[in-house]
């Protein structure tokens, strides 16, 4: 590792005079994007690149930002912390005005200090781990929600549904367990009783023993915080036992295969909270963006995290349009930002750099097995 960093450092030093010798680029602003174009998250990363490129083209078609054209510099981080740190170095030395990215909290974390030392603003996209904004980095922001925000939103949805005795179930993954714990804390604060809290083993087929035990506890809502394959099995076997208690989930349930596994009949009425996709949103920004995206790429974005990269660009664009090209000024401006219309709803940041505002929405599976976004 040290040798790699040493090499990169040496290269960066060698490049420095070359870069600083260049005249200040006149009439062009560079914006950096880090995303996983290869590796296991390649489909998300390619969506990110597509979305941000589309928005950059739109900006330039309108005459750029204050007359300067925008040039997007894309670096592949391969969804891997080591590759990501190299990508961050490259962007920092390419002279970008700000850095967007990236997907995966651990990957983003590997780049935070590099971008910070380069003195640039960074806006994370798919990085939900709480600690990223708890380090006191002055110029780090994110357009994705934090893990604990989902727990609060889940608790709010449960309260709104009028449920009084909730059974919480997770699968021992750090994500699902964290969500279950955050939800329990928020529910207890709101005065909703959590009468059951336990974990199942993911990857199994038979959850009837667990459902039998849950049924005996007699909750009026079952909240399973894990992923869609287990959720599908639970719904299916719950129906088979003729137990009609409502069930809900978190954003890991947001996958169409859920209905395939459970069967539309067993899935009907199941609800989950998740950030909304543009195709489910009713705002003008989302509609316009979706039309342009479909016209250019002949498909719809499948990952909400990719849409958040578009929102990161929107925030940077707005800051530059306000004349805040200096990173310190840009960071200060972003911390005061409120209600900027974005692709995933209104955009704004708090003093830590976290996104503010109610972001999670409720989806309900209808009788045909389709996910329906609920009005707020």
């Amino acid at each position: 590792m040290n040798r790699v960093f040493g090499l990169v450092g040496a290269l960066a030093l060698a490049l420095l005079p070359v870069l600083s010798a260049q005249p200040a680029t006149c009439g062009e602003i560079k914006i950096g994007l880090m995303c996983p174009l290869t590796g296991k998250w390649a489909s998300e990363g390619q969506d990110m690149k597509n979305i941000v490129s589309l928005l950059v083209d739109e900006t330039n078609a309108k005459g750029g930002i204050n007359g300067d054209t925008v040039r997007l510099v894309v670096e592949d981080d391969a969804g891997d912390p080591r590759t990501a740190s190299l990508a961050a170095q490259k962007l920092a030395s390419a002279g970008v005005a700000a850095v967007i990215g990236t997907y995966g909290s651990a990957v983003t974390e590997a780049t935070q200090n590099i971008v910070d030392e380069a003195g640039l603003v960074q806006i994370g996209t798919g990085s939900t781990s709480v600690r990223l904004t708890e380090k006191g980095l002055e110029r780090f922001f994110r357009t994705s929600p934090r893990d604990d925000a989902q727990g609060k939103s889940a608790a709010a949805a449960i309260e709104k549904g009028g449920y009084k005795a909730v059974a919480l179930l997770h699968d021992n993954s750090s994500y699902a367990k964290g969500l279950a714990e955050e939800s329990r804390a928020a529910l207890e604060k709101a005065g909703v009783k959590v009468i059951f809290f336990d974990a199942l083993t993911p990857g199994e087929r038979d959850y009837t023993a667990i459902l039998t035990k849950l049924k005996a506890a007699n909750p009026d809502l079952v909240f399973f915080t894990g992923y869609y394959p287990e959720t599908g099995m639970l719904l299916r076997q719950k129906k088979e036992m003729s137990w009609h208690v409502p069930m809900m989930g978190g954003d890991a349930a947001n996958h169409q295969d859920l209905v395939k596994i459970a069967g539309p009949e067993a899935a009907a009425g199941y609800f989950f909270i998740s950030p909304p996709l543009p195709q489910d949103m009713d705002t003008k920004e989302a509609r316009d963006f979706l039309a342009a995206y479909e016209a250019k790429y002949d498909s719809v974005p499948v990952s909400v995290w990719a849409v958040l990269a578009g929102d990161a660009y929107k925030a940077i664009e707005a800051a530059l349009a306000a004349g805040k090209a200096d990173p310190e000024a840009m960071a200060a401006w972003l911390k005061d930002l409120k209600d900027l219309p974005g692709l995933s709803g209104s955009l704004g940041f708090d003093a830590k750099g976290d996104r503010v505002g109610e972001f999670y929405r409720t989806y309900v599976v209808n009788n045909e097995g389709a996910f329906e976004l609920q009005p707020r």
Partner: protein, 301 residues
């Protein structure tokens, strides 16, 4: 009490499938003293082949569902049995004379090969069986309403196990298998074709495992290429619990493991279900090192 019966039935249905898969481990071990680690993947192959036969050939559209399911059971059993024999020829027979550890490594390699082959052929996404194949009725038993399909699975597992027991105990081929298990050298001297007996064992074990895979597919609906791992591990445990190499032991071990898991989930803690089940396994092995029904001195791996 009602909950206890419910959990007991839950456990028996799961245990029936463990037992069917465990038979494959125990038969191969009894004859070859080899743990066939690829057995769990043969189970997965059964689940995938069943889906292919049902979906691509549209059998369920041509025949009435019950007949289609029976036909697919027979076809999957035969196909997976064939794969089992090929596996023995390719991966185990060339190592027959070699160190036993070489055969174990070969078995692990075969397991990795099968798992990745399934992933490359079918893809990594979850597949789902058509829903209408599943018999949809409930039976009242001891005041507990039980989905009929669970009873069918338990019944089918027990029927297959009894048929196998009868075959081993009552027929000449069965006697040849028992003789080979006790002493392959002496069996050969008595005029038994040991290679054919081993091939037969690799027909029966994988055939039953493949059918268990199909049952899991039809009942639980969801199949993926890694499912053989967890079922294989549990079934292997069941085989040891009952006394590896012993056929009634595998059945007993499977049912016992399923029931222990269900009761542990119901009365201790769900997250500790596997820990409790394995604790029971360890306790039984401390008291009876050869397993519940294992009679001969153990020479395990």
């Amino acid at each position: 009490m009602e909950q206890f019966f419910q959990q007991l039935l839950n456990g028996l249905a799961v245990g029936g499938i463990y037992a069917l898969v465990a038979l494959g481990y125990t038969m191969v071990y009894g004859v070859l003293k080899l743990i066939n680690f690829a057995h769990g993947d043969l189970f997965t192959i059964g689940a995938y082949l069943g889906l292919t036969l049902l979906a691509s050939w549209n059998l369920a559209g041509v025949l009435p569902p019950a007949v289609a399911v029976l036909a697919v059971f027979v076809m999957v059993g035969l196909l997976v049995a064939l794969i089992g024999v090929l596996l023995e020829r390719a991966a185990y027979r060339p190592l027959r004379g070699a160190n036993r550890l070489s055969a174990v490594v070969s078995a692990l390699g075969a397991s990795i090969f099968f798992e990745n082959a399934i992933m490359l052929i079918y893809g990594a996404r979850v597949y789902v069986y058509p829903d209408f194949l599943r018999p949809d009725f409930t039976v009242d038993l001891f005041g507990v309403s039980v989905p009929g399909v669970r009873l069918l699975i338990l019944g089918a597992s027990v029927a297959l196990m009894l048929a196998l027991s009868a075959f081993i105990q009552r027929t000449r081929m069965g006697a040849a298998i028992r003789a080979t298990a006790i002493d392959p050298g002496a069996a050969r001297l008595m005029g038994i074709n040991v290679d054919r007996v081993i091939a037969l064992v690799f027909l029966i074990g994988p055939g039953l495992g493949g059918m268990a895979g199909l049952m899991v597919g039809i009942y639980y609906g969801q199949i993926d290429f890694t499912m053989g791992w967890s079922y294989g591990l549990k079934a292997f445990t069941a085989a040891i619990l009952g006394g590896i190499g012993n056929i009634p032991g595998a059945m007993l071990g499977g049912l016992l493991l399923g029931v222990t898991e269900a009761l542990a989930a119901g009365y201790v803690a769900m997250a500790w279900k596997d820990a409790v089940a394995f604790l029971v396994l360890i306790l039984i092995l401390i008291i009876r090192p050869t397993g519940i029904l294992g009679e001969r001195t153990a020479d395990k791996l």
